[in-house]
Amino acid sequence: MIVPLGMTIYFSFIRYILVNPDAKGFVGLDNYRFLWKDPSFVPAVLNTVVLIGSVLAITLVLGTLMAVLYGRGFPGRNVALLLVIAPFFVMPTVSALVWKNMIMHPVYGLLARGFALIGQPPVDWFGAHPMMSIIIILSWEWFPFAFLVLYTSLKSLDQEQTEAAVIDGANSVQLFLRIIIPHLKRAMGVVIMIETIFLLSIFAEIHITTSGGPGTATTNIAYLVYSLGLQQFDVGIGSAGGILAVVVANVAALFLLRITAKSLRGDG
């Protein structure tokens, strides 16, 4: 994967248009300049940030609450756990289509029916709130991952420490804020980094629900690279977008590498 990455960097500095083979040559930073001026660039960056930020926030908050709930245990927990992690195994194209059609359809979707029952007008999810709809689908897909990582981490929490805190008179809120959250910090960091890297490349869900639209409402960096490079055939500018995504991912990855390197050295 290093070779293609090198090629992306190289492409991002040359003029390379698939349908016009005569146009070639080194253009320095021109591709990056064109990318910056492209009317869909700024929306794509903002959309990427909004998408990743919202999905991270939703999956982390819900994941933590669920991890605590499941860590406490209740009858049938291990079976319920299988249901909770199930969405993670559903292929992206299936989840996108099932949600878009059977649940969010403005007339026949389950949500529309539910709204009708309580006398509310149905919501045209993908028409009126395209970004929110995609965020909901992605959160559903990635929530199980966050939950499972946090739940696994929670199981390694020292029981004696919690018991001591309870004996010292800590109530559940204090327990949650002072012991559970600090213990989960590392796992949360891992969730943030891994989800960021995967969410940067989110493509299938957008491709088959909104195709980046309406307008540029749901175009993220990955979709922009696809549409510049493989729909408008401008490899140079598309590559510049790809490099941008790599840079963002590297910032997130640095932290994860530090953690893994630490666990390699012994304590893991």
């Binding site: 994967m1 290093i2 293609p4 090629m7 992306t8 492409f11 669920m66 709930l69 499941y70 209740f74 049938g76 927990r77 319920a80 756990l81 249901l83 969405p87 195994f89 559903v90 292929m91 992206p92 194209t93 299936v94 989840s95 099932v98 949600w99 878009k100 059977m102 649940i103 026949y108 389950l110 559903w140 929530f143 499972l148 990582v149 696994t152 796992a187 891992v190 890297i197 995967f198 490349s201 493509f203 629900t209 990955a222 690279v225 490079g229 493989l230 598309g238 590559s239 790809g242 490099i243 995504a245 790599v246 963002v248 991912a249 990855a253 994860l256 590498l257 666990s263 390699l264 893991g268």
Partner: protein, 271 residues
């Protein structure tokens, strides 16, 4: 006492309630698969189940060809991963050098790159090598994407095997093949099996590369399902039936691999 019982009842309801709510879309998809197209658009829970949609899916499209592509893809890329990962991990686990650790970290770092960063070169290389819409091209990409995870997990499992056992076998005159077959393999097998499950799940559900690199001939199930995004007429029951068949086997595997999932996906950062 009464308050306590009430509290644990609340936890049961909360725990199961959220689980059922989260699982509901999958349940609904499974239910719709057994409806007729007309019933699929009505929210009914009670209906005479029918297999018509499944029959329709098989009759209208070459479903088996897509399913076979998915199987080739996931099994093929997993086998390639292991063919490369096992020798590499063996060397690194039992004959480590100064650079072993940095090599491992370096391998992992390639996994930190979002796929979109290499989309265009991979697409153009595939085109020039005649690998577009070719199952081998897709298998190769998928194997490359998953290789760091395979090496990492195999390495972790090998490290848990005490080196003296292997040395004892060598002292007793076992060659390297005997050593691998009779000593290493039996001990590492559970770990390798769960790694294999994880790799199969990842490549089965991978949609970024399959959508971009294949169209018809080599398309796996992810791409087949994506074709329902431009529907004609009533299609929910057929979509559900096709989806159910595509999702069910891999979900069963996911449930089996559940314990190893976390350490595999977080590269051992969370166990």
């Amino acid at each position: 006492m009464e308050a306590r019982r009430l509290k644990s009842l609340a936890f049961v309801i909360l725990g199961w309630g959220t689980a059922l709510a989260i699982f509901f879309p999958i349940f609904w998809m499974g239910l719709t698969a057994f409806k007729t197209e007309q019933q699929a658009y009505a929210p009914g829970l009670l209906f005479p189940p029918t297999l018509d949609s499944f029959r329709e899916v098989f009759a209208r499209s070459n479903y088996l060809a897509f399913a076979l592509n998915s199987i080739y893809l996931s099994v093929g890329s997993t086998l390639i991963c292991f063919a490369l990962a096992i020798p590499a991990a063996y060397r690194m686990a039992f004959f480590p050098t100064k650079r072993t650790q940095s090599t491992l970290v370096w391998m992992l770092s390639t996994k930190m790159m979002p796929s979109v960063g290499v989309l265009l070169p991979v697409y153009l290389l595939s085109r020039d090598l005649g690998m577009l819409d070719n199952i081998w091209g897709l298998i190769a990409i998928s194997a490359l994407m998953n290789l760091p995870i395979a090496v990492w997990m195999t390495y972790t499992y090998f490290c848990e095997i005490p080196a003296p056992i292997l040395e004892a076998a060598r002292v007793d005159g076992a060659g390297i093949l005997t050593e691998i077959r009779h000593v290493l393999a039996p001990m590492a097998l559970p770990g390798i099996a769960s790694t294999a499950l994880l790799l199969i799940i990842l490549s089965w559900n991978e949609a970024f590369w399959s959508i971009n690199l294949t169209s018809a001939k080599a398309a796996p199930l992810t791409v087949f399902i994506a074709a329902y995004s431009s529907p004609e007429g009533l299609f929910w029951a057929k979509l559900s039936a096709a989806s159910l068949l595509a999702v069910a086997p891999i979900m069963a595997m996911g449930w089996l691999a559940q314990k190893q999932l976390v350490s595999g996906l977080t590269f051992g950062a969370v166990k």
